[in-house]
């Protein structure tokens, strides 16, 4: 069972790396997600899952063949965090498509290398007293 999970994690990582190396940002996002899930499986496998019963300790002690709950707790945390980051990455992807009109990573990232834009003169953007301009949303 562990060997199957380990090989699965390895295959998923290789698929993820292959996707990450693509020029298309959509596939890069998917690549990160696939690698993230592969690593979740790897963490679970690394903590060994040869146990077959739930690890509920009673007065009689720990049941024989109890599974290790800690890696499951770790992975649960990692899944929740990974989900939040995936959603953020999707939002960045959507906004990139809207603003840049392309999802080619090198087209997008080269914009960050452009010369810094000139700053707008203060008078034009905020006509009144500077301190009270926070509320705009």
């Amino acid at each position: 069972m562990e060997i199957i999970a380990a090989i699965t994690a390895g295959i998923l990582v290789s698929i993820g790396v292959w996707l990450l190396l693509d020029r298309n940002l959509v596939r890069v996002v998917l690549g990160v997600v696939v690698i993230g899930n592969a690593i979740n499986i790897a963490v679970l496998t690394g903590g060994r899952f040869n146990g077959t019963t739930a690890p509920f300790t009673s007065a009689a002690g720990v049941p024989e063949l109890a599974s290790n709950p800690l890696p499951q707790a770790l992975v649960l945390t990692a899944i929740v965090i990974g989900f939040a980051l995936f959603v953020f990455a999707l939002a960045v992807l959507k906004r990139t498509w809207e603003l840049h009109g392309t999802t080619a990573t090198d087209r997008v990232t080269e914009v960050a290398e452009d010369d810094a834009p000139d700053l707008a003169p203060p008078a034009l953007a905020t006509p009144s007293a500077p301190a009270d301009r926070e509320g705009r949303r």
């Binding site: 890069v28 770790l74 990139t96 603003l99 997008v108 810094a116 000139d118 500077p130 926070e134």
Partner: protein, 502 residues
């Protein structure tokens, strides 16, 4: 330790920014209230940090077991001298940043959820400094990462989004590597408690598999700390964010990676070995490549971004030499660098607002227009380059001295050459932005009206730089005491596990 550790104070570095973030959220769109809450929260965090420095200096390592679960089963919060100093400096930089953000600016990021997100980020940063558990460290890294993602893209726009894409994916990848390493360490060693791992290493009972997993973890920290050859994401992304955001990142974020490196390497490998040899080469390459990269840049924040990379090399040099003097130098450098680097980003931002651009060819005339700003720039710039009697001189002096003591001439030479190139870079900014006349004439320089808070924040940090420089003795004593704690992991093991280690 005779008295019980102050548990509430140990949790306070997490609770204060968390409570501030929640209050900022509740205050909604009442900007004045959010600003006051934010400044107050940062001041409270700095006070908590200074209290921790005082206690850690007096009582040794402070430990609190969360929920009362004893060390290997629960999560321990551990504050030694290094952690306490990092929390204090985080509070100070946070305070300066939120005050700086009050200044008038036309950037679209101003007035958005900046304060809320900054305190969210601080929860992660402080958590990483106080935790004594590897997986918990991963969680804090994620917390600060989520905050930093939202902050770097704040305000939007094509250029900022492009930088965010680079920052997002490379940091996500580093965090995933960290998660994998944490999982493998647990699988091999059966514990994620740092003291527990250190105990296994000290006793020589660590299984061989755990070494590989820990090296993978060091790679993940190196990406966070922007070491050669995995620093590329930093100069590609820091310059696109809003100025206070850039300054906060420049001051704190890579230093969380450096802190994690120092913590793990000193705990697990207290004696110099192969890891230290590799780190020594990495440190020298980082110093040189960073400073040479800066030489090719012509925008203020890009020059400074490359200098972050170069300066991180100095701290890792101290770690790599592994002598108590070198570690003390690394701790001193960490404290000095956070203040100086954030301040340079602050002043670069003010200079850009006055001249209308941060491209050096389009800047100029600031020395004639506002000599006080020029003085404010000169203090951190000279300190960064290591001119006595400012803080950077003592930091570099100790590190060069430690390299010579250890017989590593090459590292000493690289450190000195890097210092000279740093001075060249700083004089480039000085000549172009301050001395030279403004290309569009002196009338093109804008009024500094509304920049008061920004000037005060920069002046406060400059005062700290001077104080560290003039009062180098007490600070170095503290750094030496912190280094003594770091180079003897048995203290840490005893404090957390309550047993003799090794």
């Amino acid at each position: 330790m005779s008295t019980a550790p102050p548990h509430l104070l140990l949790v306070a570095p997490l609770l204060v920014p968390l409570a501030t973030a929640i209050l900022c959220l509740l205050a909604g769109n009442r900007p004045r209230l959010v600003q006051s809450l934010s400044v107050g929260g940062a001041a409270l965090l700095a006070a908590v940090g200074l209290a921790l420095v005082h206690l850690a200096d007096r009582d040794g390592i402070l430990v609190s077991q969360m929920s009362g679960w004893a060390a290997p089963y629960g999560i321990s919060l551990v504050v030694d001298r290094l952690s306490a100093a990092m929390v204090a400096i985080t509070g100070i930089i946070a305070g300066a940043t939120v005050i700086y953000a009050l200044a008038h600016d036309t950037d679209p990021a101003r007035g958005k959820d900046f304060h809320l997100l900054v305190h969210g980020l601080l929860v992660g940063v402080c958590g990483a400094f106080v935790t004594g558990d590897v997986f918990n460290l991963y969680v804090w890294f994620e917390v600060l990462l989520v905050g930093s993602f939202a902050l770097i893209v704040l305000g939007g726009g094509k250029r900022r989004l492009a930088g965010t894409v680079v920052y997002l994916f490379l940091n996500l990848l580093a965090t995933l590597l960290f998660l994998l390493a944490a999982g493998l360490v647990y699988g091999a060693a059966g514990t994620l408690n740092m003291a527990g791992l250190a105990q296994q290493f000290a006793a020589g009972t660590a299984p061989p598999g755990v070494q590989a997993a820990l090296v993978l973890m060091l790679v993940a920290f190196s990406i966070k700390a922007a070491l050669f050859p995995v620093f590329g994401w930093l100069p590609a992304s820091y310059h696109v964010a809003w100025t206070p955001v850039s300054a906060l990142f420049a001051g704190l974020l890579t230093k969380v990676g450096v802190y994690a490196l120092i913590r793990m390497v000193t705990l697990l490998w207290p004696e110099a070995g192969l890891i230290h040899d590799v780190l020594l080469w990495v440190a020298c390459a980082t110093m040189l490549i960073g400073v040479l990269g800066a030489a090719a840049q012509t925008e203020v924040r890009r020059i400074l971004s490359f200098h972050i990379v170069s300066q991180v090399g100095y701290m890792v040099l101290g770690l790599a030499l592994a002598t108590p003097l070198a570690l003390a130098g690394a701790v001193f450098y960490l404290i000095h660098h956070i203040v100086v680097k954030a301040n340079l980003f602050f002043i670069g931002g003010i200079a850009a607002r006055l001249t209308g651009s941060e491209r050096l060819p389009a800047m100029g005339g600031l020395y004639a227009h506002s000599p006080w700003l020029a003085l404010l720039f000169a203090i951190p710039a000279l300190s960064l380059a290591g001119i006595p009697p400012l803080s950077g001189f003592w930091a570099k002096f100790v590190l060069v001295r430690a390299s010579l003591d250890a017989g590593v001439w090459m590292a000493a030479a690289v450190a000195l050459v890097t210092g000279i190139f740093t001075l060249l870079s700083m004089s480039k900014i000085w000549n172009e932005a301050f001395l030279k006349a403004h290309p569009a004439g002196a009338a093109a320089i804008r009024s500094s009206r509304g920049q008061g808070p920004a000037m005060w924040a920069a002046a406060g940090l400059a005062a700290i730089t001077i104080m560290i420089g003039i009062g180098a003795g007490p600070v170095m004593d503290y750094a030496s005491a912190a280094a003594a704690q770091l180079s003897d992991p048995r203290q840490y093991i005893r404090a957390v596990l309550g047993v003799e280690g090794g």
